[in-house]
């Protein structure tokens, strides 16, 4: 490749659809061509039980991750996926190569006898957690004992509001493994302390049997109008972009779901036993 003339490289760049090829120097052409030729990695199925990191998001930069999406050619002076200038500058203290330059894949020599991929199973006791991402978006994640998901089919996660001593479901998603997470959209007018999660399943009569539930710990102000006129709350439209970026998982139940009787006299936790789920105690 290095032995080709600049003219030949430019021809090749043109064929590969690299922008601005006529202005690139030889080195830049070589880099851009190599990046354009790198094959995209097959997308990993989401929610695998191995603790792999999530598949490449749409906005991932190609430069540092081998096998990720195509790196942009050297002429484009912007880091893909980082719209914010401040963040780009903050990130510069970790930069070891110019933009668009592929950071070569490195082998990290293992010198301690350990397998860092072995992070163990997460849960001794099942757990639901809620984290705020920003006004308008909540992240919920679940951890079940190993194998529980397979033993109890039809597990679902519901987000709802508790008021008038009842749980009012707002959104629902099917689980796809012993552990996983989901981003929920949250309305501006919801009270943070009213937001609850339930994990459970529908029995034959259509009642939702709650196995674990979780109340909110804290939420950022859902609607914050600052003096600079910036409205931080996320609209539903913006939210679907967030959902897409995080990778689809599970089957979201479209629209309505069975409105089984659900009574919320009090909030309590029920652990799922390995012998099978029990119906929730009703007081």
């Amino acid at each position: 490749m290095k032995n080709k003339t600049v003219a030949e490289l430019r021809e090749l760049a043109k064929k590969l659809g690299i922008a601005g090829y006529s202005k690139l120097r030889k080195e830049e052409l070589l880099t851009a061509i190599a990046a354009a030729r790198r094959p995209a990695a097959p997308k990993k199925p989401p929610g695998t039980t191995a603790p792999a990191r999530k598949p490449a998001t749409k906005t991932a930069a190609g430069a540092a991750r081998p096998g990720a999406e195509k790196a942009r050619p050297a002429t484009v002076p912007a880091i893909p996926g980082v719209a914010d200038e401040e963040q780009r500058i903050e990130g510069s203290k970790f930069a070891v190569a110019p933009l668009g330059e592929a950071a070569a894949a490195r082998a990290y020599a293992e010198d301690v006898d350990e397998n860092i991929e072995d992070l163990g199973t997460l849960a001794h006791a099942p757990r639901l957690s809620l984290l705020a991402q920003k006004p308008g978006v909540l992240y919920a994640y679940w951890r079940l004992p190993h194998g529980q998901f397979a033993r109890q089919p039809g597990l679902r996660l519901r987000l709802g509001l508790v008021h008038d001593r009842a749980f009012h479901p707002q959104a629902e998603v099917a689980l796809n493994g012993d552990q996983g997470g989901w981003y929920f959209h949250v309305n501006e007018d919801w009270h943070p302390e009213a937001v609850y999660l339930q994990l459970g399943y529908y029995d034959d009569s259509g009642a939702f049997i709650v196995a674990i539930d979780r109340g909110i710990v804290r939420l950022p102000r859902l609607f914050a109008a600052s003096r600079y006129g910036v409205n931080w709350a996320v609209t539903s439209g913006e939210f679907s972009g967030i959902r897409e970026d995080s990778g689809a998982l599970g089957n979201q139940v479209p629209g309505g779901w069975p409105q089984g009787p659900s009574s919320y006299e009090h909030v309590s936790s029920h652990l799922m036993s390995s012998r099978g789920p029990r119906a929730r105690d009703r007081n």
């Binding site: 540092a64 996926g81 490195r106 710990v217």
Partner: protein
Amino acid sequence: MLAKGYFSLVLHAHLPFVRHPEHDRFLEEDWFFEALTETYLPLLEVFEGLARDGVHYRVTMSLTAPLLSMMSDPLLQERYVRYLDERIEALEGEHKRTANDEYFRPVVEYYQHRFHRLREQYVDRYDCDAIRGFRTLMEAGHLEIITCGATHGYFPLLATEEESVYAQLSMAVRTHERLLGRRPRGIWLPECGYTPGVDRMLAEFGIDFFFLDSHGILDAQPPSRYGVHCPIRTPGGPAAFGRDYESSKQVWSAEEGYPGDALYREFYRDAGFDVDEPHIRKLRHAGIKTFTGLKYHRITGNTDWKEPYHPGWARDRAAEHAAHFLQNRQAQARWLRSQFDRPPIIVAPYDAELFGHWWYEGPQWIDFLFRKMAFDQSDVRAITPAEYLDRHGDLPIAQPPECSWGAGGYHEVWLNGSNDWIYPYLHAAAERMRALVQRFPDAQGDQRWALDQAARELLLAQASDWAFIMKTATSVDYAVRRTKTHLHRFRRLANMAEHGYYDREYLRAVSERDSLFPDMDYRIFRRGAWV
């Protein structure tokens, strides 16, 4: 003469703990060496110059525990001298190469002079311990040094287990006291990540003040009539200072900010990628090209073509920009003072690495700014937040919302599709650590060793840098690797402590590598201050 308003420059200096004794050289250690070369040592030189010349100035700096630890680590000190020597040697080669190049020869000579001076500063003046420089300035009263989270953990996403936040604060305060000889009066929350409740925790450690992004103050309940130009007192006790938006925009903004000026040095052009000669190839890591720090071009404009760097012109431009900045602060102070019943405080916080590393002329700009502030006007006076509190302690009480200074203003940088997978593991590990502390309140011998090391691993896993890198995709493989390594080690060590079987060889290997916090006590993972 009473100034119309106060100006507080706050510099947050932080790098994650990267130290690999198992390799003779390691690429990511260069983050630290570059920051020393282009930010920390030049800033020290500027501050010492101001002190020597009797210029009134005040700077507040946070020096995080990992950074302090790296600065005081003998292995990294040695490797940094090697880093400097290698560049000095490479520059000799560059000098020969540019013998007939009238454009680049002066730049090479500029760097030769600079690197010799840096080496003198580091080896002769500080005896290879950069902390010495900061400490001297602190003791002379020019520099206020505040603390941060122990490993820069992002509190709002760790606070599901309060023990994690307490541990981050404990170890930070301890390290600060150990290496600087006094307790910190203020804190820079990692990424200004705040959630209600943190105020109460800070008070338990005797911390008087912290910082928030502008909307943290503006959206506090009830709203303060001073906006961001007076701190608020949180219900828990400490005061919160808000970032002044205008002074930030002047420096950070892509369109209007100073660092993008055509005469300033271009960050992305480096001899490591432009020059293919043996003396430059020697600087590569295992044949991989990286930044060498020898950057010869100026920004020139929004083009790929870059002109040679001219240090003198860049320096003059920095002086112009300093004057411009000061003028705006004067106008701002005068206007605000006319609206308030007290002098406003304009808080301008930045990542320290912006000055010098990203914006090469940044430290010079700071130098000019303080000199002009001291001699060319009297509207604005430099102050530290602590001094402001001492003078104006009666503050409006308000509770800030959960927020950060990250992109978007909340948590999405650290919680999104690229990095959300880490939180179930971090939370589970913190739960487990809490259980271990409760179960073994007084561990001794090997068990104590394993538990202390497990606590170190957990703190290292919590560094928000990893999630940040996963989002911004600069060295994702390294960040993922670090997260998994520390989580894995935590788990194995926790197992050892529980089962009573100690693999001493493994313990020793891990302790040698993850050697942060020599005075670790695993019991910091509890509710309530344990210092």
